[in-house]
Symmetry: C2
Subunit: 400 residues, 2 copies
């Protein structure tokens, strides 16, 4: 018999997307589904950006440079300068989404059997890219009690083996919303320098910090050769479908290796580079209103969650996610039950089961991730559903 690959077999299905058929069935029954399950913002893409694509006069849709259009990379330098990140356009490879930046990082720095340490819960798709690169993810657990702060340095050191090549940090964090402090980033810097590791920094949510400033991995003096920034415009400008990100490093050897992978896939998509280039010229206050809107939603969702008996949700400092502990037996069962067997005033809510974000079996069973990508009114209605659901869910646990 023809056999597919082990990696194809073992590759985990997206924990977020596997509930989609149940959501579709719920909708077919006429139930309104509030989607708090995925990081697809409802925020409008800036008109200036959409217009840049509309006004794009080309006659041949040619390949871009494999590193991305030079004009766009030069524009990006301005963007990073505003964020006190000092890079040149020759240290940037424009990628097909942040996803490809992660893949290039893993491919350029890690070999089959190497280990990468990631504080869990973590963005589930890191697993997918690790699987493609045949790399082992070694999780170290952060706890909901501490609001998902960086685990102590000893936990990292216990996890480091001769095969450890890198640490991934997502700041502010998806799925927890945790914003790592300057001190925590400094700790990471010390670890990667002491143990000679790469630091892969996913900063997709850089602009969405609600308390305290963002410390980029690119700000870490002395770690320049260790840091690979994996960036994306998806959330920043609500441009997820454009598929434009960036791979940035001052490490020339890493850059050269990544560039070869970039050349193999020829070029990043053209149109969204045009959109991204226009985005850098948005007025300086562009993020103010988006950030204020997300902060308002965060305040509502966290308050509503903590008002529900048996629920605990730490207050996230950034991104647009909250991770909550619910008084339930099993989040996968619960999230499916919400779609299959529950409705309140004709509606239900779709959440992402916590288990999908943990690599250690058994962790996250009573946690869910909520993406506050709906407006305040919808969030309130979704929270009405959730509160009601927790009252009637057969697998409710009362003595958490």
């Amino acid at each position: 018999m023809l056999k597919i690959s082990h990696r194809g077999t073992e590759m985990p299905a997206s924990p977020i997307r596997k509930l989609v058929p149940f959501a579709e069935a719920a909708k077919k029954k006429g139930t309104k589904v509030f989607h708090l399950n995925i990081g697809q913002p409802d925020i409008e893409t800036p008109k200036e950006c959409l217009d840049a694509v509309k006004h794009c006069d080309i006659t041949v849709l040619e390949y871009s440079h494999s590193a991305g259009m030079e004009s766009y990379r030069k524009k990006l330098v301005e963007y990073y300068q505003r964020n006190h990140i000092d890079v040149t356009h020759e240290e940037i490879i424009v990628t097909t989404g942040g996803s490809e930046a992660i893949l290039f990082g893993f491919m350029a720095c890690l070999d089959a059997g190497d280990e990468v340490i990631i504080p869990e819960p973590f963005y589930a798709n890191y697993n997918g890219f690790a699987m493609q690169a045949d790399v082992n993810v070694v999780p170290i657990s952060s706890s909901i009690e501490s609001g998902f702060a960086l685990p102590p340095i000893e936990d990292f050191e216990k996890a480091i083996t001769p095969k450890t090549k890198a640490i991934v940090v997502c700041n502010p964090n998806n799925p927890t919303g945790y914003l790592y402090s300057a001190a925590e980033m400094e700790t990471l810097k010390q670890i990667v320098i002491k143990h000679n590791l790469f630091l892969f920094a996913d900063e997709a949510y850089r602009e969405f910090c609600y308390q305290g400033a963002h410390t980029s991995a690119m700000h870490l003096k002395g770690a320049e050769q260790h840091v690979i920034l994996m960036d994306t415009i998806s959330k920043r400008y609500s441009a997820c479908g454009g598929r434009i990100g960036a791979f940035i490093t001052k490490n020339k050897e890493v850059f050269t290796a990544a560039m070869k992978f970039a050349q193999a896939r020829l070029s990043p998509p053209f149109y969204a580079q045009v959109l991204g280039e226009a985005a850098v010229d948005l007025p300086e206050n562009y993020f103010d209103s988006t950030k204020a809107e997300y902060q308002l939603r965060r305040d509502i969702i966290v308050k509503r969650l903590n008002e529900m008996p048996g629920v605990f949700c730490p207050n996230p400092g950034g991104a647009f996610y909250a991770m909550a502990r619910l008084p339930i037996d099993d989040c996968d069962t619960f999230c499916q039950w919400l779609l299959e067997s529950f409705s309140h005033e004709g509606a239900t809510v779709m959440l992402a089961p916590g288990t999908g974000f943990y690599s250690t079996p058994g962790l996250g069973k009573n946690e869910v991730r909520l993406a506050y990508v709906l407006n305040a009114d919808s969030i309130n209605k979704a929270m009405d559903c959730l509160a009601k659901a927790l009252e009637v869910y057969p697998g409710r646990i009362y003595d958490l």
Copy 2:
């Protein structure tokens, strides 16, 4: 010291793109460079397609479905039906260029250490994806004397080991332009069925066949479970920069595995899906003029090449490439010399060295690939340059 990955070190740089700095230097000196080195067509992207993007009214640039927009996949079914390829929209994953379709195929079907057989010369970037998947490419040589026909079945059987999992066929072929006959495709079918292998079919140039009909791997009755079609709209509609391709298979297990890789990278780019959807509705005669134009250019370039003393160029049956044997010592040296040290009436020509398309060391040293992506007048001028260059090149060999 921080060390990058072995695959990052060993990954070959693009053989086509490594000459770019020399071309840039030539242009700075004021030399006109005729680019016959890359498959970037000069053909205009259909206005209907570009307009579809311009008229695209969205307010939020959202992620598509990970398999691509359903409306586009349904449209693609029409396109394939016109090509007598019977697929449903649920057998199609829209990919980020044909490149990603190749990557998904390798990842879903092959594990580290597995072997994939590819007739050489072959599209150099297969090496890049093989490197990412830690897969070994086993070349079997086709010869310029036979016009790069499929090597005999015995050559395949000699190359097959217990680790062999797949064969790649690019039809019509890049870089040779060879159009595999129905009989040759039937031979491949027998091999993959007998030895239980996957058949990866790259049919990027399907429409550009100048003698005889195209036999798709999807036409091979009885091999349905073996075939993975890796397709792209890049050349078909001169839409290289859009980065839209397709991964198509009737093998459900392979599809499910590939879909997990597709979910990890979230979605293909939105805008070029809109463009691709519009392309399916182009008038039925759309390809007639493009094909006629390419055929005209082929006729010129092949005639001009074969008129040059010591040059041999088989007449390619498809695509827009020709592979020629030149009376030279070393194609890499020659192609660089053309850019660095030669000009004729203020111009020179950029070619792709043949070595880059062979995996067996030493092969292709006196061959070059020419992409006939310029108009007839430019091709004639480029051939004037080449003829002159061969007269004066210091490494010319007279007794080939």
